[in-house]
Symmetry: C2
Subunit: 349 residues, 2 copies
């Protein structure tokens, strides 16, 4: 089958490899219908994160179950499934607490499971899925073709935006600012509106992203950043800032923007993978009761809630995909995202 | 009148100074019935925090209103009042949001108000209180003498322990660990139990504090610290730790203990004044969704909720006072707390 391997900085190739197979009775093998490239895939692509040895890459996909092991009970061959970006057993204490990303027996796509058996990457034609019951969420029926992009966002970006909003306590009557206009930031706008936010401000300087942000529900777009950004967003909310800020980037600058934008006593919900090693300034947080919640999003928890809204076309997060390529051209997709020519790239095997 | 002045490290003296008076129509002057020494007063006392010039000290007191300005409407001469540890106007946006510690027109005791007029310290016989309506909370009747210590804790430590518990999301069914066995940590145990925590573990190595912690509701006391402490508390809760950890010290070591003790997806509620400049390790927090909430406690918000429980003797937080001295002997009180011979010292003018 065709799989995507990363060999090192700016060296991503689609390559023929052996088909994966059911290795354990709790496994499934899924034939991928659509996968995609994540902003966080750009960290190893750009060399910010080291690639020690060649490995499969990609952690977001939807597909149809090809085969299952004897102990799999919740999904069946022929069923359409959504795969969260982390493998989880669904039964350990952290999974029961809804934090499947901290599963005691979990695994990452494109890596190995706890027994050292290979786990496929998501940017592939077929994927071996450990803990199929704990990991995959199946739909009752085969969804229509045009819903595939939005269903694919439940693998990561829509669930991640939702996690930012939940972590920041977004709800009816709350005021919100979103830092980051990538796919996650845009989904965070959609999630905040869906949860009833009274007013949502998006920090963005890119016309196409501003436009999609407005369509997703942003009431105001601010182009200012840094001190000017803090001043501008504070001015919109009683001079002190909004109740909630959703940090969807992960850099020192974006977290600083978030911490200084939120009102005293407010919450920063953050989901951007921290890069650059910056730590959080506790004294700033302490003095104004700026609370920080979030982390790597347990999207497995959220699929049950978000899926009906996608199937009923109440939300359309799949609009974050603005480039579709065949899997064989995955390297072009990485280049397009790296150069910011695309918000998010969908891959079709 | 007698007031306490700090001149520099280990140099705290009770001194005769002019009586304060009503300077503005929103002021009150309060005759102090009881004040006390705070753990945070030890920072300037020990020289950890610099004292640039001699100033009055003390920020916790209860007393009887002596006189009020023309615009004061909620307290009257002769009324018993509780003073939170920060002056707040009660009307600005942050006060309306319940974050009186970030009041836009607030002031600190022993400092100056926004117009440069002197604000008395709490360890005095009389105190000028700016924004009397926004700051003070009066009782309907003169409370009985033996309730004074517990009422005094509503100035700071009981409200602060309650803030730690609320910030960490403590409620019915939640499991809790408390880092810190000072007055705030002990009050945090009491607050957690009062909010319905299922099980409370206290980290403590001092027999007298362990005993009071148990009386306040701690189900388990752990003497381990550092890695051994993390291992011990994790073992008590499914191998992953409790839902909530209340950090009531403010050092790097105590925050590290808290962050590593809480379960993935759990909350650290912190109220210890950060010392030593340590920042928060965002990657550790991100990977396991360890949330951090809290800060300087807006105790003014909590007096209305906690006061009835004190007056009805449902809770008895005043037991944290284990030494009572006349105000003239305040220097002895600082020494006793510095040398950890006393948990908390009450001062009677």
């Amino acid at each position: 089958m065709l799989a995507t391997l990363i060999h090192g900085p700016r060296d991503v190739r689609s390559t023929e490899v052996d088909d994966p197979r059911v290795e354990k009775p709790t496994d499934a093998v899924v034939r991928v219908v659509a996968s995609c490239i994540c902003g966080s895939d750009l960290w190893p692509y750009r060399g910010v994160q080291q690639t020690k040895k060649t490995h499969p890459i990609g952690h977001e996909f939807v597909g149809v179950v090809e085969s299952v092991g004897d102990e799999v009970t919740t999904v069946r061959p022929g069923q359409f499934v959504i795969a969260p970006f982390i493998v989880s057993d669904g039964t350990c204490v952290n999974c029961r607490n809804g934090v499947q990303t901290s599963c005691l027996h979990g695994a990452s796509w494109g890596s190995e499971d706890e027994d050292g058996l290979p786990v496929s990457g998501g940017q592939s034609a077929l994927v071996r899925v450990p803990w199929a019951d704990g990991t995959l969420v199946g739909t009752d029926e085969m969804p229509p073709e045009d819903l595939i992009p939005s269903l694919l966002t439940l693998s990561d970006v829509m669930g991640t935006g939702h996690h930012a909003a939940l972590s920041a306590g977004v709800g009816p009557g709350k005021t919100v600012a979103v830092v980051g206009d990538g796919a996650v930031g845009l989904c965070a706008v959609l999630a905040a509106k869906r949860l009833g936010a009274e007013r949502v401000v998006l920090f963005s300087r890119h016309p196409d992203r501003q436009a999609l942000g407005r369509e997703f529900g942003a009431d105001t777009v601010l182009e200012e950043r840094g001190d000017a950004g803090v001043e501008a967003v504070n001015a919109l909310f009683d001079g002190v800032g909004p109740d909630c800020v959703l940090e969807c980037v992960g850099t020192y600058e974006s977290m600083d923007q978030a911490l200084r934008s939120v009102r005293p006593g407010g919450f920063v919900g953050y989901v951007g993978v921290p890069s650059g090693g910056a730590e959080l300034p506790i004294r700033l947080m302490f003095n104004d009761n700026v609370n920080v919640a979030g982390g790597v999003a347990p999207v497995r928890s959220y699929i049950a809630e978000l899926l009906p809204d996608v199937l009923s076309r109440t939300i359309d997060p799949g609009r974050v995909f603005d480039l579709t390529l065949p899997l064989a051209e995955v390297a072009d997709g990485y280049r397009a995202m790296d150069e910011r020519r695309a918000i998010k790239v969908l891959l079709q095997p």
